[in-house]
């Protein structure tokens, strides 16, 4: 029997992951020892680990390396994504701290599960092997199934969880079948290996076979990023889930799914851009149209945000697929990362305002409930207005630069029509975002609602809104960041 030698591992590459997973274990213990009704302390510890993990990544900037047999990398691309995910999680924790006790669903496992989900997202950003990507996605998904149903025994929450689980399991089936076909066609599961195999030239029939696998993988990811026509579950699941979880899902699953999809498309299947480029461009256009047009009809703001998040998936996809074209290789990735950061901050901010309006037992998310918010809570109204402007892509907010970036990327990639579709759908979208602003500032309150704004929620909302406006006025630091992240991927 051969000796088992555990290979030497570069712990630096997995340092952030280790902190997060280790942190989750610590949280489970902390939950055990913290008293009933005082689980906030667990949340604060979670916040500590998230900040620690973010700091731990700093020394690895501009020092790309890989370990675990090349299954895990830490290049600037992955590092930037990790920071975006960590920031999103930190804001999610902040807006959950008072929400959970107010809803009577405070349990310490919540924060541990959030960190496990975060770990899954980081695996998706760092993984360069289909096995790792699959396991990361499942780790993220299974955690989110549980989190979606966390408001047990509220029925809508259970339903959301069940629906999400069935759709997720179904999508996972497609994903692994696609991975199996890819593995069969190329004989390897590593992204670089697949690229090599394709570069060395497969027979035309083999390529067709490989593309069938790639199509199934894209369908599997399509469910996760709620790309049309695989988006139907999104509004129901977001509406039923506890609001902080919906916020986390809308930025987390989406961002992580896109991260893995980008690596898969650009690293492994980059040579096949001619085949998938146009198909994905059409799907992106359909996604933008469906998401934004359906959002117009909504009077429930939470559902409206869910539909609008479908639309935003289309814009992000635009950035990712433009990166496949040699003409816009860098611009596309930059656009993807910038848009993801802007969208994450903005959406978290908007959902956080919904949390402030949500009372125990009844949720105030109808458009009327926003009427006159300016007179009652100027801070919330301003934050919400900033987020709405950013989602609509109005300067000077971060959302504007994000849109500007992906549109130019699509233009440079030779997909002018797609950029035009993007501009038109943004104009449609502006209608329902501005409607909320009009409600908040120009109407009188329709019914009495007392928004509950505690300190932690205020920090969360403030952080998101501040990011939206600061990155909107001076986007240079973020542009430097995303430009640094591009080089690493193409290296």
């Amino acid at each position: 029997m051969p000796d088992i030698q555990i290979p030497s591992i570069d712990l630096g590459v997995s340092l952030q992951l280790l902190i997060i997973f280790g942190g989750a274990m610590v949280l489970l213990l902390a939950d055990l020892f913290s008293g009933e009704g005082n689980k906030r302390i667990v949340g604060y510890i979670a916040l500590l680990f998230v900040v620690g993990a973010a700091a731990a990544g700093v020394p690895y900037w501009d020092a790309p390396r890989s370990t675990f047999n090349g299954m895990l990398v830490l290049d600037n691309f992955a590092l930037t994504l990790n920071w975006i995910f960590l920031l999103s999680t930190a804001i999610t924790i902040l807006i959950s701290l008072e929400y959970l006790p107010r809803q009577g669903i405070e349990r310490g496992e919540y924060y541990a599960l959030l960190l496990f989900a975060l770990g899954g997202m980081m695996l998706l950003a760092q993984g360069t092997d289909l096995i790792v990507l699959f396991l990361g996605l499942e780790l993220l998904s299974i955690t989110l199934y549980v989190l979606a149903g966390f408001a047990y025994p509220r029925l809508s929450s259970e339903e959301a969880a069940m629906k999400y689980l069935l759709i997720g399991a179904f999508a996972a089936g497609f994903l692994v079948f696609g991975i199996a076909l890819l593995y069969g066609a190329t004989g390897t599961s590593s992204l670089a290996g697949i690229a090599n195999k394709l570069g060395s030239g497969l027979a035309a029939d083999d390529v067709a076979f490989m593309l069938a696998g790639a199509a199934l993988v894209i369908i599997g990811f399509g469910y996760k990023i709620s790309m049309a026509p695989f988006h139907m579950w999104t509004p129901d699941v977001y509406e039923g889930s506890p609001t902080p979880v919906a916020a986390f899902m809308s930025v987390g699953t989406k961002g992580a799914g896109f991260a893995a999809l980008a690596r898969l498309l650009l690293v492994a299947l980059g040579s096949q851009y001619a085949t998938w480029g146009l198909i994905l461009a059409i799907l992106a256009a359909v996604t933008m149209v469906i998401g934004n047009v359906s959002a117009v009809a909504q009077t429930n703001v939470k559902r409206m945000l869910a539909y609008s998040s479908i639309g935003h998936a289309g814009y992000i996809l635009m950035g990712v697929l433009s990166a496949g074209s040699p003409a816009a290789a860098n611009r596309g990735i930059e656009g993807f990362l910038f848009y993801l950061l802007a969208y994450s901050l903005t959406n978290l901010g908007a959902f956080a305002v919904l949390i402030a309006l949500e009372q125990r037992g009844e949720a105030a998310w109808s458009l009327d409930d926003f009427a006159g918010l300016w007179h009652r809570q100027p801070f919330l109204a301003i934050a919400m207005a900033l987020c709405m402007f950013s989602l609509a892509g109005v300067p000077p907010t971060a959302g504007f630069w994000g849109k500007f970036y992906v549109f130019t990327a699509a233009w440079e990639a030779g997909l002018q029509w797609l950029a035009v579709v993007g501009v038109i759908t943004s104009a449609i979208a502006a209608f329902f975002y501005l409607r909320i602003i009009v409600q908040m500032f120009m109407r009188d309150p329709v019914r009495e609602i007392s928004p509950s704004l505690d300190r932690n929620l205020m920090i969360g909302v403030g952080l998101a809104a501040l990011g939206v406006i600061v990155f909107g006025i001076s986007p240079t630091p973020v542009i430097d960041l995303v430009q640094g992240s591009v080089l690493a991927l193409s290296r």
Binding site: S156, M162, L165, F170, A172, Y183, G184, P235, D236
Partner: protein, 107 residues
């Protein structure tokens, strides 16, 4: 005397593809949530069959295919555990396990 000589690979793959599509049909057509999960399990089994076939026929001296199949079994078990726990929790409050009746959220 082994299967590689006796049975062509496309046969095995066709069986796997058929099983996958049967599972897909089940997952799409069943009203019962347990039934949907059964369909998904069939789909995952088809994937494993595919992987093992690729391993045995194409590169039997490398473990990748088998290892991948093991991970998929692990994930299937985890998913089933969470899913069935959820079914029981929903049943306790709702007394139904039919997916289209679990629907107070309007689509």
């Amino acid at each position: 005397m082994n299967m590689v000589d006796a049975v062509p690979l496309p046969w095995v793959l066709a069986v796997a593809a058929g099983l996958f599509c049967i599972g897909l049909f089940g997952a799409l057509s069943r009203r019962n949530t347990v039934g949907i999960l059964l369909g998904v399990e069939l789909m995952l089994n088809a994937v494993n069959l595919n992987l093992i076939a690729f391993w045995r026929y194409l590169e039997p001296n490398v473990v990748a295919g088998q290892v991948f199949a093991l991970f998929i079994i692990t994930v299937a078990a985890a998913e089933a555990a969470v899913g069935l726990a959820m079914i029981i929790a929903i049943y306790r409050t709702r007394l139904t396990v039919n997916a289209d009746e679990v629907d107070s959220l309007k689509g």
